[in-house]
Amino acid sequence: MITIRNLAMTYRTAHGEHQAVRGVSLEVKQGEFYTLLGPSGCGKTTILRCVAGLEHPDAGEILIGGEVVFSAERGIWVPPHNRNIGMVFQSYAIWPHLSVFENVAFPLRIRRRPRAEVQSRVMRALDMVGLAALAARSAQLLSGGQQQRVAVARAIVHSPSVLLFDEPLSNLDAKLRDNTRAEIRRLQRELNVATVYVTHDQAEALSLSDRILVMREGIIRQEGSPQQIYAQPRDMFVADAAGAANFFDIEIRGVDGDELHGIAPDGSIIRARGTQAAIGPGRVMVRPDRLRITPDEAAVAADLNRLHGTVRQRLFLGGHFEYAVAVGATVLRVFSPVEIKEQSKVVVSFAPQDCILLGAEATQPQEEAKPWA
């Protein structure tokens, strides 16, 4: 439904040029929920705005439903009002001078639909977001969550061929965010419309998407299903963007297909997965929830990797504990329901398939502040 080929865009400001998107190609299928994930400034919003027709890209091509809406080569640029899309803005962009009903009715009024049709479609859209009771209310009197839902109703009321979301949950509080997330997913399934969703929140991306595109500095880093992005990130940046991650260096001693073994920071031999491994230094990733810790080495199954370390810090988070375990010079984050005292000697164990050898990358992602490191 949406095809983007070699899209590139540079912003020119008084402070110089900024290459927001540098040659991105992607395809979103009918009914697919497609998420652009990355930190602010990575170009994800720019891509979305290019699809919407709110920006003039410098190069490439964009097709919506098979129709070319932008082509640098052929000099085509279809203005947003002719693209038949629905979009939810980060600020919701609810018009303050119109009522809830008129806000939602706007796309139909512009298309000069008959009165009866406007009435029934607006009410159906408001019903879908659970706001039918507030139709007559002034848009200024809405809470943030209600505004967000009006924005969604307005985006879907004219049955657009494409739905675009620009960080629609970032201005909501945490609890509301979880509920709305589920609602957006349900609506999108119901409408079965190609959807592009922009976010920097990994939980949103993982829970909502059929496919995720991780971006950095205007370039695609990895595309794949949420499971792939989470379990098999290509590099440190993607691993970090998709959730909490531990990284440590190993010395690879042997490779067998996509299995390898090497020496961990504490001197143990561990096994890991990596398709393009070679003998020599490498860096691996394990998710904190895939690590188990125990003070008793005998309890660890034989086929698991094991590292020996000391608990440096323990934080109680309700559902589980978060441990900082020093292994050699490295500190690992471990999520575990098991309660262990600080300064205990422990064994950290994990399955070889959960330990992923990462590809090389030029720059390091920003490390989170780790007070114990």
Binding site: L54, P79, H81, S91, P96, H97, F106, I110
Partner: protein
């Protein structure tokens, strides 16, 4: 701080109270047998001429507003919402235009379209073979148009601010919903911005209502009055002593109308944020591509600057260089002389420059100290009556300059004479200038103070700083850029001010603007032009300073 704030409030109250008091009294002021009366009001309201002046003023202000908006709206839209080239240049020129003395531009217009001597009129008469001048600037519509052209920069800046405060996503959402650009403009942009635009329009109308420079220079000699010039001429009668009671009454009426307009302005302004979607996010405005419309857009903006600013100022220069005004030609070029400059009374000019310099130093400094005190009391203390202080500091915005001039005159003549004889001294000017600029100063200081989080001060006092220490170590350094900017701006306004000193100056305390005014009144237009040019020339370095400070404070250039 509290004392300073109270002093500022007191000054405002006293000035206005004197006018009000005199409007209700009869007989020679200072006379112990003074009687209270409504006779002045009866006289004024029963005089048909009052209504003629009122009609003139309303027509004048409305035409000025229409012309100002017709120029400002398209230009503001071009600057804020399109890829118009060279925006900082336009913003800088607009700011400069805001500061060019109104009387200098008005003088230029006299030379252009005066019924008898206007060069444009004469040229058109010669070319088209007309028997009479096609334009007459000494009419209410003529004055209104000139005022409108000179109010356009103010309207431009106010409209630009309104346009900037809108979340562009509101427009983008409309475009995505299927609205064409014209429909977006009509159905969303204008409706959302309506309260803000209305407030800007009322503000410009208020300024037009109170304008003095243009109607004084263009209309006084033809005895076409607006309220400002009517009050002025009532105080400077050709024969006999001025009727102070009646002048006071006129001033009270004028102030009341202006105050009413200000109330409308405040109401409209309060409506504005209702529609502004404040997300705390830095807006990246939606920029329309001009494409092939770029050359006509540039031509339009250039046309404004040429017609509204360059042409009258060029005429001023031309008039200053000739012994008597005539159409530019080779023959006229041969007559070019500097006699108008060299013939200026040197001692008087030097005194005027000295006075102006003194005013430019004292007025902004005192105004800012008082304004900062008022802001601090209003925003940072819980003193009772601080709302009154706030209101009194806002009041000068509503009062026309000529009313302040009258008020200061009456105060000096009838109240202060026995205790502090400051009539005819520069101190009277300082007093009235400071009071008149108080609203601007407090608004600037409020803006600066609001941006400083209270906890910054609180943490300083927790760390052991006294109130004075907090002030010196935290507040003043943080507010410094805004203060420097406001200081220079008030200094420049002081430089261009003609209305306030027009009733208060004489040969010894005159500022430069009053010198020019003297030449105009004596019909020495050549010398008036020369003096105006000299004034503009001396202003250049100050303008440059302003430009540097404004850039530092991020006040010039849209982004």
């Amino acid at each position: 701080m509290v004392t300073a704030a109270l002093a500022a409030s007191f000054a405002v109250v006293v000035l206005l109270a004197v006018v009000l008091w005199l409007s209700f009294t009869d007989g020679a002021p200072g006379d112990p047998a003074l009687a209270y009366t409504l006779a002045h009001y009866a006289d004024v309201f029963l005089d048909a001429f009052t209504y003629r002046v009122l009609g003139n003023t309303v027509l004048f202000a409305v035409i000025a507003l229409a012309v100002a908006l017709a120029c400002a709206l398209p230009m503001a839209w071009l600057m804020e919402r399109t890829d118009f080239p060279g925006k900082p240049v336009v913003f800088t020129l607009m700011t400069v235009a805001l500061l060019i003395p109104g009387f200098a531009v008005a003088l230029g217009w006299v030379f252009l379209v005066h019924a008898k001597i206007g060069l444009l009129n004469r040229a058109l008469m010669a070319v088209l073979g007309l028997g009479a001048a096609p334009f007459n600037v000494a009419t209410v519509p003529g004055m209104g148009m000139v005022e409108g052209l000179s109010l356009a920069p103010l309207a431009f800046i106010m409209v630009a601010v309104v346009l900037r405060a809108m979340d562009p996503a509101l427009e983008e959402a409309a475009a995505i919903a299927g609205a064409r650009p014209v429909a977006v403009m009509w159905r969303v942009t204008l409706r959302v911005l309506w309260p803000g635009l209305l407030a800007a329009a009322i503000y410009v109308l208020t300024i037009g209502f109170a304008a003095f420079d243009v109607p004084a220079i263009l209309g006084l000699s033809a005895r076409i009055f607006t309220f400002s010039t009517y009050v002025f001429s009532a105080l400077t009668p050709t024969a006999g002593a001025p009727e102070y009671g009646e002048v006071a009454t006129l001033s009270v009426i004028m102030a009341a109308i202006a105050a009413l307009l200000s109330v409308c302005y405040r109401t409209a302004q309060r409506q504005a944020p209702k529609y502004a979607v404040v997300t705390g996010k830095a807006y990246r405005p939606r920029i329309a591509r001009l494409g092939r419309w770029r050359p006509p857009a540039v031509a339009l903006v250039t046309l404004y600057f040429v017609v509204a600013q360059l042409m009258p100022l060029a005429m001023l220069a031309w008039a200053a260089l000739l012994p008597y005004l005539q159409t530019p030609s080779a023959a006229a070029l041969a007559l070019v002389t500097l006699r108008n400059f060299t013939g200026l009374p040197r001692a008087l000019v030097l005194r005027a420059i000295g006075n102006t310099a003194l005013l430019m130093l004292l007025v902004p400094s005192i105004t800012l100290v008082l304004s900062a005190a008022v802001s601090w009391v209003v925003l940072r203390t819980r003193l009772r009556g601080r709302a009154v202080v706030d209101f009194l500091a806002f009041l000068p915005l509503a009062i026309p300059g000529i009313v302040f001039s009258v008020a200061a005159l009456l105060l000096a003549l009838f109240v202060l004479r026995p205790v502090a004889p400051i009539y005819g001294t520069i101190w009277l000017l300082v007093l009235v200038y400071v009071v008149a600029r108080l609203s601007y100063g407090t608004r600037m200081m409020n803006g600066a103070l609001i941006q400083i989080h209270r906890e910054l001060e609180e943490s300083a006092s927790i760390c052991g700083a006294s109130t004075a220490g907090v002030l010196r170590r935290v507040l003043v350094p943080l507010m410094a850029p805004a203060m420097v900017y406001a200081w220079i701006w008030i200094a420049l306004l002081t430089y261009r001010e003609l209305t306030l000193p027009v009733l208060l100056s004489n040969g010894s305390n005159l500022p430069f603007s009053f010198l020019v005014w003297g030449f105009v009144q004596a019909s020495s237009y050549g010398q008036a032009s020369a003096a105006s040019l000299l004034m503009l020339g001396l202003m250049a370095p100050a303008l440059f300073l302003y430009w540097i400070a404004a850039r530092g404070a991020g006040m010039i250039a849209p982004r």
